[in-house]
C-alpha cells in the first residue's frame, strides 16, 4: 500500500524536476533549492499500513499465528524485551531496534521472510527507519476513539459567502487548501429534481416544479425540504438502504430458497419508522431487542423481525443446529456491520488480523444472540400474528359496503354479494404470521462456546456473552440483546453515530465521507474529511432545540441545506484534475439512480405509478422461466395483475436466488447477507433493460398516451411536455427538435398500410388496447412510444445531478 506520505514525496520530486527544467529554460535568476525537510510521520496514515500488510500476520493480534512472541500492533509489546534479549523497537534508537536490522537483512534473518511472498519497498524501509528515529509513535485507530466536537473552521472572507451550514466550512477549508474554487449553485429546476429524488425516490410533478420556481420567498428551498421530509414517500426511499443492510427478502435462501411471504410487515415497519422519524437509537433498540423492552408494543415486537431475515435451510437432512448456528452468527456479524461498521466475519475462525476482535470475543458476541427460541424450522416459528393497517382498512371498507347493500333493495343477487363481501372481509383480517425474536425461558437457556473454525460441531471453551474489549470502555457486562442495543446506542460508543451519519451522507452524495461504508476498522479507508464526520456525529447525538437526539430528519435537513448539496454538478477540467473522484466535493456528484428508483421514476413519469404504501410484496412482469432456476421449491412466478403491476421497486417480491433481473442488472444485491454499498456499474445489459424490458416498454406506451392527453396537440408540444416530465425543467430547443424529428420520421413510417400492425403492437403491447377516447392514431402513438422510450433512456433521466 502506497501511503499518502510517499505520494507527496513523489509529488515533491516531480516538482523539483519541473522547477529545475524551468530554470534551464528561462535561465532567469537562480532560485535556491529548497532545503529538504524531514516529514513528520503520521502513524495511522504512513506507518501502520506498512506494518499491517507485511508484519501483522505473524506479529499481530492472532495469538495462534504469532511468531517469536512478538507483536508489533501494540506499542508496549513492540517496545518490550523479547525472549531473545533484544527489542524490536527502541524509540529513537535505530541500532537498538531489531526490527530495523531485520528489514535491512538480505539473508536468513530477512523480514518479512522471502517465503511469505511479502516484500518491503526501499521507500517503505525508509519510512520504518524514520518512524523509529522519530520515537516510534503509535496512535489508536481513529474510529475506535469516540468523536469530540471539533471547532468550525474559520475561513477567509472571500469564502464565507459560500457557507450556509457549518458543513460548508469544513469542506471549503479542504477545497481552499487544494486551490479549488467553490462551484456555483445549481439552478432551481435542478435542485427540486435532485432533492425530490433524494428524499422520496420519485421525481417532482410538473405542478410541484412550477410552484417551487414561482416561490420567490427567501425560504422557498427550506419549505421544499420540509414538504419532502413530511411526504410518506420519504420513508420508502430511506428504508431501502436499511433493507439492504437488514438483508430483508421474501424468501428463506439456501438451495431450495422457499418463499417467505410473511416478512413484509417488517419492511413496512422500517418505512413507517423513517416516516414518523423514530429516533435512530430507538430504531436500533426496537429491532435488536424490542421484545425485551418492558411492556413492548406490537410495533416493537414487529421490529425484531430484523434478525429473522436470516436464512433458513429447509432442505431435508440438514442439521437444524448447524443452520441455527449460522443464523445467530449472521445476527452478530450483521449487527456489528450495520451499526458499527466493523467486520466480524473473519474472527469466527481466528482472531481478526487487523481489527481488535479475538476469536473468543466473536463467540461472546454470538452468545448474546444465542438465547432465542427459533431454530431453523421450516415454519419459521416463533411467529407473531399481525393484522396490518391496510388489512384493517380493507376490512372496514368491506363492512361499509355491506351496510350500504343491506340498506338498499334486496334480491338473491344482493344477498349473494353480501355473503361474498362478508367472506372477503373475514379473510382480510387473517393475520400474517410474522417471524419474530423470542427469548428462551429461564430454565431452557443455552450454553455458548467458541466454535473451532466456525464449525458448530467443534465446541471449544465455554463463553459468556459480551462485547469486544477494545470497544467496551467502562461498560459493564453485556448479557442480553437489550444490553447490547443500549450499549450500541450509548453516546460513549465511538462508531454508531459516525457509521449512520456516513450512510446518510452517502445517501445524499453517493459516497460516504468514509468511502468503505461497511468497514470503519483498520482496513477501511480514512475519512475524506474526519472533522466534518465527527462534527456531524456529535450534532446527530445531541438533542435538537426542544427535540430529541438521534433525529434523522433533522440531520438530513441540515445536510441538504448546505451549499455543498446545492452546488452545481457541472464538471470542470480543473476540478476533474485536482479532485478526480470528487472526494472533496468540488462539485455535486452526478450519479445513476438506484435500481428501485429507476423503476419508480419511470412509473411516475409515465403516470402508471400505484403510489400505495406497504402491504404484501408484488410480482411485476419478468421474463418467463427465471424461477425455474431455483432447483427446488416454487418454480412458477405468479405475475401480478392490475394496480399491483405498477408498485414501487421496493415492493417487488425479492427471491434471494433469483432477484428481480431488471434490478439486479442495476446492481441491486441478492439480500442474502448484509450489504452496505451497491457499486454502480455502467453496462450494455442495463441499456437492454431500459430499452427493451416489457415493463419499460409498457411505461413508454403509457407515457405516450399521457402526452396525448396532457401535452397539447402538436408533436412539439407533446415532446416538450414529455421532456419536462422526465427532466423537471423546460427542455432546450435542441432536445425538442431531436425528438420531434424522430417522432415525425417514425410517425410517417408507421402510417403506411404495411406497418399498421406493427404500429398497433408498439402502441399497445403489453399495455393494452388503445382507449377509444384517445385522440391519436396508432401510428402517432407508436412514434410517441419510441420518443418516450428514448426519453426514459436519457443520461440526464437515469442520473440524479
Amino acid at each position: 500500500m502506497k501511503t499518502a506520505f510517499f505520494r507527496s514525496l513523489l509529488c515533491a520530486s516531480a516538482c523539483t524536476i519541473a522547477a529545475a527544467s524551468s530554470i534551464c529554460a528561462i535561465a532567469g535568476p537562480v532560485k535556491r533549492k529548497p532545503v529538504p525537510t524531514v516529514p513528520t510521520l503520521d502513524y495511522l496514515r504512513d506507518v501502520r499500513p506498512i506494518l499491517a500488510t507485511n508484519c501483522f500476520t505473524c506479529h499481530g493480534q492472532d495469538e495462534k499465528k504469532r511468531q517469536a512472541g512478538l507483536r508489533l500492533d501494540i506499542k508496549e509489546a513492540a517496545f518490550a524485551r523479547l525472549a531473545s534479549g533484544s527489542r524490536a523497537v527502541t524509540p529513537g534508537k535505530l541500532a537498538e531496534s531489531s526490527l530495523v536490522a531485520r528489514v535491512l537483512d538480505h539473508g536468513a534473518l530477512q523480514m518479512p521472510p522471502a517465503a511469505s511472498g511479502k516484500h518491503l519497498m526501499p521507500s517503505e524501509i525508509q519510512t520504518l527507519k524514520l518512524w523509529v528515529q522519530q520515537g516510534a509513535p503509535y496512535a489508536p485507530h481513529w474510529a475506535f476513539v469516540k468523536p469530540i466536537r471539533p471547532g468550525i473552521p474559520v475561513l477567509p472572507p472571500a469564502l464565507k459567502a459560500h457557507v450556509t451550514t457549518p458543513i460548508d466550512a469544513f469542506l471549503l477549508k479542504e477545497l481552499a487548501r487544494n486551490s479549488i474554487p467553490p462551484a456555483p449553485l445549481a439552478d432551481k429546476f435542478t435542485l427540486i429534481r435532485r432533492l425530490t429524488l433524494d428524499l422520496t425516490g420519485l421525481p417532482p410533478t410538473v405542478a410541484e416544479v412550477k410552484a417551487f420556481i414561482g416561490d420567490k420567498s427567501a425560504d422557498a428551498y427550506g419549505r421544499l425540504v420540509n414538504r419532502l421530509l413530511a411526504s410518506p414517500h420519504f420513508g420508502e426511499k430511506w428504508a431501502r438502504p436499511w433493507l439492504d443492510l437488514a438483508r430483508y427478502a421474501d424468501s428463506a435462501g439456501y438451495g431450495s430458497d422457499p418463499l417467505r411471504p410473511n416478512l413484509w410487515p417488517y419492511r413496512d415497519w422500517v418505512i413507517n419508522a423513517y416516516n414518523k422519524n423514530l429516533p435512530y437509537d430507538q430504531f436500533l433498540i426496537d429491532q435488536i431487542a424490542g421484545d425485551l423492552l418492558p411492556a413492548p408494543t406490537e410495533e416493537q415486537k414487529i421490529a425484531t423481525a430484523f434478525h429473522r431475515n436470516t436464512m433458513t435451510n429447509t432442505e431435508g437432512g440438514t442439521d437444524r443446529e448447524e443452520f441455527r448456528t449460522a443464523a445467530i452468527k449472521d445476527r452478530a456479524v450483521t449487527t456489528m456491520q450495520a451499526v458499527m461498521g466493523v467486520t466480524l466475519g473473519c474472527a469466527q475462525c481466528h482472531s481478526h488480523k487487523f481489527d481488535p476482535i479475538t476469536n473468543k470475543e466473536f463467540y461472546r458476541m454470538v452468545a448474546v444472540f444465542n438465547q432465542t427460541t427459533d431454530n431453523d424450522q421450516p415454519n419459521e416459528a416463533p411467529t407473531l400474528p399481525v393484522v396490518a393497517e391496510l388489512q384493517k382498512q380493507r376490512h372496514s371498507d368491506l363492512i361499509r359496503e355491506i351496510a350500504v347493500l343491506k340498506c338498499g333493495p334486496q334480491s338473491p343477487e344482493v344477498t349473494a354479494e353480501i355473503a361474498a363481501k362478508q367472506k372477503a372481509a373475514d379473510a382480510a383480517l387473517k393475520p400474517v404470521q410474522l417471524p419474530v425474536m423470542q427469548e428462551l425461558a429461564a430454565d431452557k437457556r443455552r450454553k455458548s462456546f467458541v466454535l473451532t473454525l466456525g464449525n458448530f460441531l467443534m465446541r471449544g471453551d465455554e463463553v459468556s456473552p459480551g462485547i469486544p474489549a477494545a470497544f467496551s470502555g467502562s461498560t459493564k457486562d453485556v448479557g442480553t440483546r437489550l444490553d447490547l442495543a443500549r450499549w450500541l446506542t450509548n453516546r460513549e460508543n465511538p462508531l454508531t453515530a459516525r457509521v449512520s451519519i456516513n450512510r446518510i451522507w452517502a445517501g445524499l452524495f453517493g459516497t460516504g465521507l468514509v468511502e468503505t461504508e461497511e468497514d470503519f476498522g483498520l482496513q477501511g479507508t480514512l475519512p475524506s474529511n474526519p472533522q466534518l464526520l465527527d462534527w456531524l456525529s456529535m450534532e446527530f447525538m445531541s438533542p435538537s432545540h426542544g427535540g430529541t437526539a438521534w433525529d434523522v430528519k433533522r440531520i438530513i435537513k441540515l445536510i441538504v441545506s448546505s451549499t455543498a448539496y446545492r452546488q452545481s454538478s457541472v464538471v470542470t477540467p480543473l476540478a476533474l484534475e485536482k479532485d478526480p473522484r470528487d472526494r472533496m466535493l468540488s462539485r455535486y456528484p452526478r450519479r445513476r439512480l438506484a435500481a428501485e428508483n429507476l423503476r419508480d421514476q419511470a412509473l411516475a413519469i409515465s403516470g402508471l405509478l400505484t403510489p400505495t404504501i406497504g402491504g404484501p410484496s408484488v410480482f411485476p412482469a419478468q421474463p418467463g422461466g427465471l424461477w425455474q432456476a431455483a432447483f427446488n421449491g416454487e418454480r412458477n412466478y405468479p405475475t401480478s395483475t392490475g394496480a399491483d403491476k405498477y408498485r414501487r421497486g421496493l415492493y417487488t417480491f425479492w427471491r434471494r436466488t433469483v432477484p428481480p433481473p431488471n434490478m439486479a442488472a442495476f446492481d441491486a444485491p441478492s439480500r442474502e447477507i448484509c450489504t452496505f454499498r451497491r457499486f454502480a456499474t455502467n453496462t450494455p445489459l442495463q441499456a437492454l433493460v431500459t430499452m427493451n424490458d416489457p415493463v419499460y416498454v409498457e411505461m413508454a406506451q403509457a407515457m405516450a398516451r399521457r402526452l396525448v392527453r396532457e401535452g397539447g396537440s402538436t408533436p412539439a408540444s407533446r415532446i416538450t411536455y414529455g421532456l419536462q416530465l422526465a427532466l423537471s425543467r423546460p427542455p432546450s430547443a435542441a432536445q425538442v427538435k431531436t425528438l420531434t424529428d424522430l417522432f415525425n420520421a417514425q410517425c410517417a413510417a408507421y402510417s403506411t398500410a404495411q406497418n399498421a400492425d406493427a404500429a398497433k403492437k408498439l402502441a399497445s403491447d403489453p399495455l393494452g388496447p388503445i382507449p377509444a377516447d384517445l385522440k391519436a392514431s396508432p401510428a402517432e402513438l407508436a412514434a410517441l412510444t419510441i420518443a418516450c422510450n428514448v426519453i426514459l433512456n436519457m443520461d440526464g433521466v437515469l442520473t440524479v445531478h
Binding site: P623, A665, D795
Partner: protein, 489 residues
C-alpha cells in the same frame, strides 16, 4: 511494471473518463499525460481502441481463448479419473485412523466407511490413462487431453470454493472473475459480442452465484455476460414488438444526440461511457442471436454433441462455446450444476444421480474437444474441465443414508485440460492409494489460475489492478502460484 500493462491501465483509466477523446475528462487526462490536449484519439465506429479492443499479450501466447467447463457441486473424480484399486479392496471397511486424524468434514460424522468406486476402470489410448466406464466418450479423447490428478484447494464449501477458483477470493464480491481479468488484460477480438460469456446448465445457477462472473473492482465492461439457450439469449435482448431494427437504430441516433448534448453541458465522463454501452447493446442485439442459434449447425454436428436446438443443456452450451470462440470471444465459462454427490437420496447419489450427470456431460465435453480439433481451433483454445474441490474416499452416509455418496474433500481431485499449449495425452500428478492426499506434483488453485493466464500470454504476477490502495491480482497477494511446465507443450 511492464509497458503493456501500463498501456492497459491507461486505457481503462481513459475508459473511466470516457475514451472518445472528446470529453473534458479525456482532454484533461491527455493533457496530464502528454502535456497538451492534442493527440486524443476518438473511438472509431467499430469500437477499436476501446477497453475491449484486442491487446497484445505480455509474452507469446499458446492460447487465444479459454473454454472452462465447470462442474458445479464438485464431481467425484475417484469415480471418473483417479483409479484406486486399494480403495475398492477396502470397500465398506471402517476408515483407518490415519485418515481421520485432525480432519473435519462437512457432513460425515463418527467413523465413516471407505467407499471403493462401484464403477469399472480401463486404460485407454496411447497414454494408457485409466478412465471410468461412466465416461466412454472422454475415454475416446484421452490422447488429446492432459489429466491432472493432483489438484487441491483451500476451501471445502461450494460457494467459497467456486469463488476462490474463479475470482481468486473466497468471499463474494471481493475478487474479479478470471474472465474479467483476461478481457481486461487482452481485450476481445469481436467487439459485437461480449468478451466474457457465461453459459449455465443443470437447472440452476452455480452455488457461488452471479458473483462468479462479476468484474468486482475492475471496470464493469469486463463483467461476464450470461447467455441463455432458451428465450432471449441475453435478457431483454429483443426489441419491443412492432419495432424494427431500423427504428431502433434511428431511436438510438436520437438518444446519442441527446446524450452528447448532456455530455457537453455537464462534462461528466460517465455520460460518454453510457453512450458506448448503448452502442454495444445495439451491436449485441444483432450478433448474439446469430451466434446463439445452434440450429444453423448441421445434423451431424448436433448429433456429435447431443445438442438439441431450444434446450438449456450442457450439450447445447458446449456447442455454443465452440461457436463463441470461433467468433473471437475471449473467455467462455460453462457452469453445469448437479455434481454434489453426497448420497443423501437418489437425487444426489453415486448410483443414480451420478451416472445421469455423466451421461449429460461426457459426450458433449468430448465432442467439444474433437470438434475444436477438427476445425483447427484446439491449438488456440484452452479447454479446462473440473469441479471446485474433491470428494472423500469415504461413504458419507449422512443421517444413516443408505445411498452411496461422498462428502466434500479439499485435499485432492482431478481436472483435465486440453489444447492451447497443454501437452496432450498425459496424466500428471498422483494421489495416495486411497485418493485421500496428494503424493506427487500438487497443483493448487493459484497454480491453475497462473497456468491459464500463462497460456494466454499473461504473467499472473504482473496482471494487477490498483484499487483502494491495494494491488489486486487474480492469484492474490502471495507468491505461491507456480507454473507446472511439465504440462506445457
Amino acid at each position: 511494471m511492464a509497458f503493456e500493462i501500463e498501456k492497459i491501465h491507461s486505457m481503462t483509466r481513459r475508459t473511466f473518463f470516457g475514451n472518445t477523446g472528446l470529453g473534458i475528462g479525456a482532454m484533461a487526462l491527455n493533457a496530464l499525460m502528454s502535456g497538451s490536449d492534442a493527440g486524443a484519439q476518438p473511438l472509431d465506429q467499430n469500437g477499436h481502441k476501446g477497453p475491449m479492443a484486442p491487446r497484445p499479450p505480455m509474452h507469446k501466447a499458446t492460447a487465444k481463448s479459454v473454454i472452462y467447463l465447470h462442474m458445479s457441486g464438485a464431481p467425484p473424480t475417484l469415480d471418473m479419473f483417479d483409479y484406486k484399486p486399494e480403495l475398492v479392496k477396502l470397500n465398506m471397511q471402517p476408515c483407518p485412523d490415519s485418515l481421520m486424524k485432525g480432519e473435519r468434514f462437512a457432513f460425515i460424522k463418527g467413523v465413516p466407511r471407505m467407499l471403493g468406486t462401484p464403477y469399472k476402470f480401463a486404460q485407454h489410448g496411447q497414454s494408457g490413462a485409466y478412465i471410468s466406464e461412466m465416461l466412454p466418450h472422454t475415454a475416446g479423447i484421452v490422447d488429446d487431453i492432459s489429466i491432472v490428478r493432483s489438484m487441491s484447494t483451500d476451501q471445502f464449501n461450494h460457494a467459497p470454493a467456486e469463488l476462490f477458483m474463479f475470482t481468486g477470493n473466497a468471499l463474494a464480491g471481493n475478487g474479479a472473475a478470471m474472465g474479467s481479468w483476461l478481457t481486461y488484460g487482452l481485450g476481445s477480438v469481436n467487439q459485437n459480442l461480449p468478451g466474457f460469456v457465461v453459459l449455465i446448465s443443470g437447472g440452476t445457477d452455480p452455488t457461488g452465484g452471479k458473483s462468479l462472473w462479476s468484474s468486482s473492482f475492475l471496470p464493469s465492461v469486463y463483467q461476464g455476460v450470461q447467455c441463455r439457450s432458451t428465450g432471449d439469449p441475453i435478457l431483454y435482448l429483443t426489441d419491443p414488438a412492432g419495432m424494427s431494427r431500423q427504428t431502433r437504430r434511428e431511436s438510438l441516433n436520437a438518444l446519442d444526440k441527446l446524450n452528447e448534448l448532456e455530455a457537453k453541458e455537464y462534462g461528466d465522463p460517465e455520460t460518454r461511457t453510457r453512450i458506448e454501452q448503448y452502442e454495444l447493446a445495439y451491436r449485441m442485439q444483432m450478433a448474439v442471436p446469430d451466434v446463439m442459434d445452434i440450429s444453423r449447425e448441421n445434423q451431424q454436428t448436433l448429433d456429435m454433441y447431443g445438442a438439441r436446438p431450444g434446450a438449456g443443456s450442457f450439450a447445447n452450451n458446449c456447442l455454443l462455446a465452440r461457436r463463441l470462440v470461433e467468433q473471437g470471444v475471449r473467455y467462455v465459462q460453462l457452469y453445469d450444476w448437479g455434481w454434489d454427490i453426497h448420497g443423501t437420496g437418489p437425487g444426489d447419489d453415486l448410483m443414480n444421480a451420478f451416472p445421469s450427470k455423466c451421461k449429460q456431460m461426457d459426450q458433449p465435453a468430448a465432442a467439444l474437444v474433437k470438434d475444436l480439433k477438427q476445425r483447427g481451433l484446439l491449438d488456440s483454445t484452452l479447454v479446462v474441465w473440473g469441479g471446485e474441490f474433491g470428494r472423500t474416499p469415504m461413504n458419507e452416509a449422512r443421517g444413516g443414508s443408505k445411498f452411496l455418496g461422498r462428502d466434500h474433500h479439499p485435499h485432492c481431485y482431478s481436472v483435465w485440460m486440453a489444447g492451447g499449449g497443454i501437452k496432450p495425452g498425459q496424466v500428471y500428478g498422483e494421489t495416495d492409494e486411497f485418493g485421500y492426499r496428494i503424493v506427487k506434483d500438487k497443483m493448487t488453485i493459484r497454480d491453475l489460475q497462473a497456468t491459464i493466464l500463462d497460456r494466454m500470454g499473461i504473467d499472473a504476477y504482473r496482471l494487477s489492478y490498483k484499487y483502494q490502495g491495494l494491488n489486486y491480482r487474480l492469484i492474490g497477494p502471495t507468491s505461491e502460484a507456480t507454473l507446472h511446465k511439465d504440462l506445457f507443450v
